[in-house]
Amino acid sequence: MRRFLAAIACMAMGLSLSAQAAAQTATDAPARAIISLDSGRPGRFVAWAFNYATISGRDGFSGPARLYGGSADGTRLVLFETRLSRVESIRVCFYAWPDLSELFFEGLDAGGAALSASLRLRPGSPDPESARLQALPFSYRRMPPGGRPRSVSAVWLEDGGLEMASRRALSVLFAPGRRPAALVALALWTAASVSAAFYHKRKRAGIGAGWPAQAEGAATPDMSAGTGGSATPGRPRGPEHPPSRPMAVSVSHKTICAATCAAACVAACVAAGILGAAKAELYSVYVAADPATRAAGAPSGAESRVANAGLPPGLQPGADGGRILILESVQKGSYTLHSWKAAENGLASGSGGSEAGAVAGGLYFMALRSPLEAAVPVSAFDGFRRVRFKVPPLVVTGMDGHPVIAASAIAASAISQVWGLP
């Protein structure tokens, strides 16, 4: 009987332990979701471009969600990141390059349980455009201290090849410049604060006109140090100047001055903060890909001399003339687009990746400077068939729900370099 009871107890213990293990396993193992690429073909994506996918799950999604991309060499990068509030499916946007071999998704379902998904990607068939982009060089950047030049000679820019063109663009053209309005506000504040200090010093010395006389013995906190209680020059004392409430007048004037100074300081802080706020910038310059195309579209000698008259000596084209690229800055909502395009009659022409001034076979070299907040949308690159980023960017969801390229991390000190095929 005892053996029978012991056997029953052991079986019950074993069953309970296995049930607990099964429950723990069920709790630890993340639920599954499905990644579907918008290309329509399973596992097929467009290399050197932004791709879209839909991630669906039985229980929906909530909270933080991340999409990782894995390469054949084992590197894993975060490609997309967002924060959700109870949605049924997620539409993700990610940048793909030829070596991208797998996508991993990690998130939470609507109940807060861990959720994951993965998708093996198939490499696309090699094409000439992809090979051309693969061969494009990137260069380093020396932060330009000055402003952006209004025009530049294409001959100067492209002399030395594509790598030298990218280096010159990064080190000379792609400059943040200055914000004159903010500097003017700070200069005005400097002048105002120094003037106020001068006025305060003169008032303390008793030189200011119209200040009521102080009766002997009445303490004045604003008097300069070391003068003691003796009469200061210019201040009459004696019974002909009766002290009618000197302390009250002193306190109210002092309070008014302090309040005025504080209000002016607050106003200056607000003005400096608003006018000095840094905006994200997208720079773009057209680069002819080979020497033959550089010669095409060159203006005549007379036209080039007129167009080049305002260029600094270092940027003057050679005697054979050459294309002139003129700066055009356009405000695009949360970011500013600065593009140097071929000039026609001294004006920049065209917009985006297709323009009248562009010569077939050319490239666009671009740089994205967005260190403080995500501001440049993915749609900024819609005018290009293919884009090659030096480092695959992280895409996040903007305030309007559209995909936006994330701000650069502090340690990265990144200005994102991009080659684009129009």
Partner: protein
């Protein structure tokens, strides 16, 4: 010499504070490739103002004038160079500045180094807080400056420490507490 070190803040102090900051704002580009820490971007102008005030005009009024003159430059640096969000870091910088100012008002010179005797009613220094009264012993001017600097740091560091470790709201709360303690000390002395 010691008395001249503790003179009231004048246009020289304000000019020495604002002119180099204005020059730096003109020289630096309007944005960098990478974002800076808000403590670094917004704190450098305030630190410059504090050092200058302690060196040129060792008094709490001088500190207040210098910090007030440097505040718009700190706001510009935060807007142009600091990563977002800014609100918690603005609270930290404002809190530590106020705490430093409040504690600087509590600094008092060593006993016996001021003029002896009862304060006369006709002497203007009688109504001023101890931290703003002139010293008469020129040899202890540097000692007074160090003392004032130590008290100012004592007020500012408790708020900076958690913010530096990544907890800006905690730093702002501690700075508020530090400023309140300083005001409590001042109120107790006036009774």
């Amino acid at each position: 010499m010691g008395a001249s070190m503790n003179r009231q803040p004048g246009p020289g102090l304000v000019l020495a504070t604002t002119l180099p900051l204005l020059a730096a704002a003109c020289i630096l580009p309007s944005g960098l490739d990478g974002g800076l820490s808000p403590l670094l971007a917004g704190g450098l102008p305030l630190a410059w103002a504090t050092v200058l005030a302690l060196f040129l005009c060792a008094s709490s009024r001088g500190l207040m004038a210098a910090l007030g003159a440097a505040l718009p430059f700190s706001a510009y640096a935060l807007a142009a160079f600091a990563v977002r969000p800014l609100a918690p870091w603005v609270a930290v910088l404002a809190g530590t500045s106020l705490a430093a100012l409040a504690w600087s008002r509590t600094a008092r010179p060593r006993a016996g180094k001021l003029e002896t005797g009862r304060p006369r009613a006709d002497r203007p220094e009688a109504s001023r807080p101890l931290a703003d009264r002139p010293r008469t012993d020129g040899g202890a001017g540097r000692g007074w400056r160090l003392h004032l600097a130590a008290v100012t740091l004592f007020g500012a560091v408790p708020g900076f420490a958690p913010a530096f470790l990544g907890f800006p709201l905690a730093g702002a709360a501690i700075s508020a507490l530090s400023a309140s303690l300083a005001l409590l000390v001042l109120a107790g002395r006036r009774r």
